[in-house]
């Protein structure tokens, strides 16, 4: 059952933050950092709306999606851009919910972190636009509109890095912009080709429009789109913009870039490729899975190794994000309901866990004015809440039970192993190689445990250093949002059904239709 969104819930959740960004801009110069409270209230409104949808999806298993459609531009020649369609279903709602929760809490966190910065009106205005861009990208199902939102999340974040960042911020913001823009152009090429060939921009109509189109053409389109999305996800070797951008962005923005934004690439891969191009997935399943899983395995391993070599805590977290995106891609590559649900849960887990960790790094920067792990140490007793949150964050990344990350990894690997064993007939064919790759991917998760625990040890254990001698716990206005996110990760870890059940309903139908 799909219900029409008569009360503009979806539309409001996107447009309210965008519209109020003007207010933030106007009031910002007077309210200074307190604008953060305003923007958090605005984003809380979006969160409540999306949370309401997620709750309904969870409580009413028969409810498939909530949709809204608004007529848009007239036809351009023979090609219509279609209508501006929004859809909240088992796949998009959990992602949008995490984004809005993160945006709300990090806005509060910004109040303290950004308090001595300049031009906070502009900061929070861009922040709200950025949030609106991310939520919009996830909820919209028209490819043309999708591209617009995709750009809407790029441009404000570019400005946020370039103006309020640290280090070589302008250069790095430029690098970030160029990379993601190149990716976006590849995506655009795919979208335009889809529009002309399938004669529609509606993701849910693309598969019909593609009937009868040569497979090679479809594959080319999928590859172009995936390339664009992989830049966003920072899949190896398209990742080099990420460590720079995430390290030098102002920490609240790092805490959105990494947990919320890059995973959208993975979400879009599921939404666009699986929904729009079932023929490609079906026809090339073993190769499709094999190539993507190898890419995923390389990314997760490489990110893990790079994280081990870092001294800059934010850079370490950035490489850890690359590694986590490898896990997400691994789930996407599994072509199984279990693996795809795992990928969605990984987004949730990474969103919560990595946000916690970036926010912790912000607390450390706020207290000690350094990002170098070498200069930290012995903080466990002085900053107990920060220490607990960090441990929960890293445990979540390494797939520790009681935390949502466990389910994400369990499902991803089970899904991958299941499809591999199903097609298993003899050694040395794609499926049996995938058994091996899946095993290697599980082995690679030792790296996550290693860099996580090692970081905890270097920052929180041992003797205090000169800098940390007189440390105190960070301000509560920063700690409380962190603790809320950590608690969410725990609650979902004990009962993942809250996010997973609607996702599995949707994804099993999606894969069922592919056959």
């Amino acid at each position: 059952m799909i219900i029409e969104d008569n009360s503009f819930i979806l539309f409001q959740s996107i447009i309210v933050p965008a519209a109020f960004s003007v207010l933030a801009l106007v009031l910002g110069n007077r309210l200074k950092e307190k604008t953060g409270w305003l923007s958090s209230v605005i984003l809380l409104y979006s969160t409540i709306l999306i949370g309401y949808i997620q709750l309904r999806l969870f409580l009413e298993p028969s409810l498939e999606a909530i949709e809204a459609s608004y007529s848009w531009l007239p036809k351009i020649g023979s090609l219509s851009l279609g209508s501006f369609t929004l859809r909240a279903d088992g796949l998009s709602t959990p992602i949008a919910l995490i984004i809005s929760i993160l945006c709300t809490l990090i806005s509060i966190y910004s109040v303290k972190y950004m308090e001595h910065e300049h031009a906070l009106g502009q900061y929070f205005a861009l922040y709200l636009l950025y949030a609106s861009g991310m939520i919009g990208t996830v909820l919209v199902t028209n490819l043309a509109a999708f591209f617009l939102f995709f750009e809407l999340m790029l441009i404000p974040s570019w400005a946020l890095i370039g103006v309020w960042g640290t280090g070589l911020r302008e250069k790095i913001a430029f690098k970030y912009f160029m990379f993601t823009e190149a990716g976006a152009l590849s995506l655009l090429a795919g979208i335009v080709a889809t529009g002309f060939i399938a004669n529609t921009f509606e993701i849910f109509e693309v598969s019909q429009g593609m009937v009868g189109i040569e497979l090679g053409v479809q594959i080319a389109i999928v590859v172009a789109m995936l390339l664009g999305l992989f830049v966003k996800m920072a899949i190896f070797p398209l990742h080099t913009w990420l460590p720079d951008a995430h390290a030098e962005a102002p920490t609240p923005i790092s805490a959105l870039l990494s947990p919320a934004m890059i995973g959208i690439g993975g979400y879009a891969a599921i939404r666009i490729v699986y929904t729009g191009f079932p023929a490609v997935v079906k026809a090339s399943t073993p190769q499709f899975m094999l190539i993507l899983s190898v890419l995923a395995l390389v990314t997760m391993t490489y990110g893990g190794y790079m994280a081990l070599a870092q001294d800059d805590i934010k850079r370490l977290l950035a490489f850890s994000s690359i590694s986590q995106m490898g896990y997400m891609l691994f789930g996407i590559a599994s072509v199984s309901t279990i693996g795809l649900v795992g990928a969605v849960l990984l987004y949730v887990s990474h969103g919560l866990g990595k946000a916690v960790l970036f926010m912790v790094s912000g607390v450390l920067i706020h207290e000690f004015k350094t990002r170098s792990i070498k200069e930290l140490g012995g903080l466990a007793a002085k900053m107990p809440y920060t220490a607990i949150a960090t441990l929960i964050g890293f445990l979540g990344l390494m797939g520790f039970p009681y935390i949502i990350g466990f389910w994400a990894e369990l499902y991803i690997f089970t899904g991958s192993m299941y499809t591999a064993l199903q097609g298993f007939s003899h050694l040395l064919e794609p499926n049996s190689i995938r058994v091996l790759i899946t095993s290697l991917a599980i082995v690679a998760s030792v790296l996550t445990a290693s860099y996580g625990l090692w970081t905890v040890r270097r920052v929180f254990y041992g003797q205090p250093t000169e800098k940390t001698m007189h440390a105190n716990e960070g301000p509560m206005i920063m700690i409380v949002p962190i603790m809320i996110l950590a608690a969410l990760a725990l609650i979902l870890g004990i009962y993942p059904g809250l996010m997973a059940s609607s996702a599995s309903t949707y994804i099993s139908e999606l894969l069922g239709s592919i056959g």
């Binding site: 190794y305 790079m306 445990l395 192993m417 064993l421 599980i442 009962y495």
Partner: protein, 701 residues
């Protein structure tokens, strides 16, 4: 036979047993806000509640024909999943879980009481009590759990607690070298290092376990232990072979958790934690989780081996790893200079015995003998090793050092501790008749003979001699002989060595008495063959019913009669004879060296020569620890640094900049043509028009 979940009042204690300590753990920070004493006693109270719950399960052991009690609640149901669509949350009450739960809960409670004295005055006690209770809760959850996912929760939960408690003194202060560090240079490690080492090493085992679980669930579609027993019978025969690697991968988890070779190196270093933690987690309970899991999976693998004989190789892997670990770790205990580290090596060695027993059990038809031996030894080891660690803790407290050469000659000052340690060490050595360790170890030796494994028997017997040797060595270095210089210094400073407080000695003397009581109860001449005989009978009737082997037993007996096995009576006699001989040899040599001091061991080893190199080899743990650091730890870090420099920065990122610079370079050159002079522009325009005209001409013609 089909076994279905039941609902009944009898399982309520099984639920509460792990819920109470979990609740206790999360109440700890709140109670601490009210009053520190309330927090301490509250924590102990919750562990007491857990123990009383598990004791309430004991009567079920006497109506074994009604077991298992198996109760499940829905947990996660996901639509559209081909496998793993339904994960339930439940308890499984059977003889194995009842026995294990009681071992865990009762010993935990005694150790919690002891903690009141031992940890007095430490800072960070809220953290301590939280993790202790969280540990007990997770351990009981693991024991009671009904499926592998639920087991993983407990499994990783106890791992986290172990990590946190090993690193309890995370400040790594150099001043506390004598008390909180572990090892001697070049292998001396601070507590936070050891905690991390423990977590990551066991994690490597867990990864193998996880791969095994993923294969099993993808292959059979279920993770419930009871369902798996039935499922394995109906698997397609041509794919049965997948079960063999899957089972061995599953065993990787127990290898890590129970510190078997090659993942044993974390356990000796885990001694950096407080003695209570060593006693509870690294002797009595958590390290037994691996053995427990093998026992849990045993019926499944055993059934599979009936249908697919190659499954037997799984049991051989278990047995061989067990017996080799027992021997290797035993030899390492000979040279260690730290009281707790001797006990840690000994724990590894004894865990190897348990694995050996379970392994050989799977290769015979009379599987219940080996199975009983493993479980019985698990029980008796939990009791005596917990007591040994607690007494060691009392001594360390008294002499303020972990080194054996800082002890000596304190028998008179600490009589209760001395006698408790002596009784429990006798049980460890396997001194006959009165001590439970004797009976359980004998049963293990006997089961190897019954399985027709003379080499395993020989290795296990040599290990028994070594055990006797290092036990006597440890006892005499700790309590007998002359007082060390260190103690004299302490006395000079006004610290006199004295008996531990009541709150500490009562728990370990209870355990010392318990090991004797179990020993007396296990005398085979008693009705039913004593405790061991009763246990064997219980497991035999329970497991053969579970595996559906009651009726066909005679037929199968003829078919499966193990090659090279001895008749049972003969095996018993050989075992008793051998174990008495090796005990005498090991103890006698140690007596000569460490009590009579003729010859003096230090002079005997000397400073070079064969004995010295052997000593070094054992002291450096067969160089296994150094090997792991050299081959895995350091190369991983240096590889990542190298890759950062040469692949990330020097390779990929450089390529980006080369690309960017090339574009900029090109545009810089090209820019020079844009001079802004009218003449040039007109020439360019004309050239363009001509080019265009040529193009048009070509297209048209």
């Amino acid at each position: 036979m089909a076994i279905v979940p039941t609902v009944g009042i009898e399982t309520i204690p099984a639920w509460l047993s792990w819920l109470f300590p979990m609740i206790g753990a999360f109440l700890t920070p709140l109670l601490a806000k009210i009053n520190p004493r309330l927090r301490d006693y509250g924590a102990v109270l919750f562990s007491f509640l857990a123990a009383s719950m598990t004791i309430m399960l004991i009567p079920l052991l006497f109506s074994v024909e009604e077991l298992p009690k198996w109760e499940v609640l829905p947990w996660i149901e996901l639509e559209g999943f081909p496998v793993l669509s339904k994960i339930e949350f439940g308890v499984l009450v059977d003889p194995l879980s009842i026995i294990m739960a009681n071992v865990v809960a009762v010993i935990s409670f005694l150790i919690m009481v002891y903690s009141l004295g031992y940890m007095k005055g430490e800072s960070g006690l809220t953290r301590y009590w939280f993790f202790m209770n969280f540990f007990i809760g997770n351990m009981l959850l693991l024991v009671m759990s009904e499926n592998l996912v639920q087991t993983l929760f407990g499994w990783e939960g106890v791992g986290l607690c172990s990590y946190a408690l090993i690193g309890f003194w995370y400040r790594d202060a150099k001043e506390d070298y004598l008390k909180t560090w572990v090892g001697e240079p070049p292998e001396a490690y601070p507590p936070s290092h050891c905690g991390m080492k423990a977590f990551i090493t066991t994690r490597i085992g867990d990864i193998s376990l996880l791969i095994g679980i993923v294969i099993i669930v993808a292959f059979t579609g279920t993770l419930s232990y009871m369902e798996l027993i039935e499922k394995v019978e109906h698997l397609p025969h041509e794919f049965m072979w997948i079960l063999v690697p899957a089972a061995i991968l599953l065993f990787g988890g127990p290898i890590g958790k129970s510190a078997q070779l090659p993942l044993m190196e974390w356990l000796p270093d885990a001694m950096a934690g407080p003695a209570t933690v060593s006693a509870l987690i690294h002797a009595a309970t958590m390290v037994k989780a691996g053995v427990y899991l093998v026992g849990r999976l045993f019926p499944i693998m055993y059934v599979a081996s009936k249908f697919y004989p190659e499954m037997g190789s799984f049991f051989y892997v278990v047995a061989w790893i067990g017996v080799i670990t027992a021997f290797v770790a035993g030899t390492q205990a000979i040279t260690s200079n730290e009281i707790k580290k001797v006990l840690a090596y000994s724990t590894v060695s004894q865990l190897g015995y348990m694995m050996l027993a379970l392994g050989v059990a799977g290769t015979t038809f009379e599987f219940f003998i080996g199975y009983t031996a493993g479980v019985f030894h698990l029980m008796s080891h939990a009791i005596f090793k917990a007591a040994l660690f607690l007494t060691a803790g009392a001594v360390i407290h008294a002499v303020e050092s972990r080194f054996l050469h800082h002890m000596g000659g304190i028998r008179k000052e600490m009589p209760i501790t001395f006698w408790s340690m002596t009784l429990t060490a006798f049980s460890l050595m396997g001194v006959p008749i009165l001590f439970s360790g004797f009976w359980s170890k004998d049963l293990i030796l006997e089961s190897t003979l019954l399985a027709g494994q003379p080499i395993m028997f020989a290795l296990a017997a040599i290990t028994a001699a070594i055990t006797a040797f290092y036990s006597v060595r440890m006892l005499s270095l700790t309590f007998l002989g002359k007082k060390s210089k260190h103690i004299h210094e302490l006395e000079h400073e006004g610290h006199h060595v004295h008996e531990a407080p009541k709150v500490m000695w009562i728990p370990y003397s209870i355990l010392a008495v318990a090991t004797v009581l179990f020993g007396i109860g296990a005398i085979t001449l008693l009705p039913l063959g004593g405790f061991g005989g009763w246990l064997e009978h219980t497991f035999e009737s329970y497991l053969s019913r579970l595996l559906g082997m009651e009726h066909s037993s005679t037929l199968l007996a003829a078919e499966l009669a193990t090659e090279g096995a001895l008749p049972q009576e003969l095996a018993v006699i050989i075992t008793i004879g051998t174990s008495l001989t090796v005990l005498a040899i090991g103890a006698f040599i140690a007596y000569k060296l460490y009590i009579r001091r003729s010859p003096d061991p230090a002079k005997l080893v000397g400073s070079k020569g064969v004995l010295k190199s052997l000593w070094n080899f054992l002291f450096r743990r067969w160089y296994v620890n150094a090997f792991f650091y050299k081959v895995f730890v350091y190369p991983t870090i240096s590889f990542s640094n190298w890759a950062l420099k040469h692949i990330e920065i020097g390779g990929i990122d450089k390529f980006n900049y080369v690309l960017a610079n090339a574009v900029r370079g090109f545009s810089n050159r090209f820019r020079r043509t844009h001079t802004g002079l009218l003449n040039y522009n007109v020439i360019g325009m004309i050239a363009g028009i001509i080019l265009l005209l040529i193009l048009v001409y070509m297209v048209l013609v």
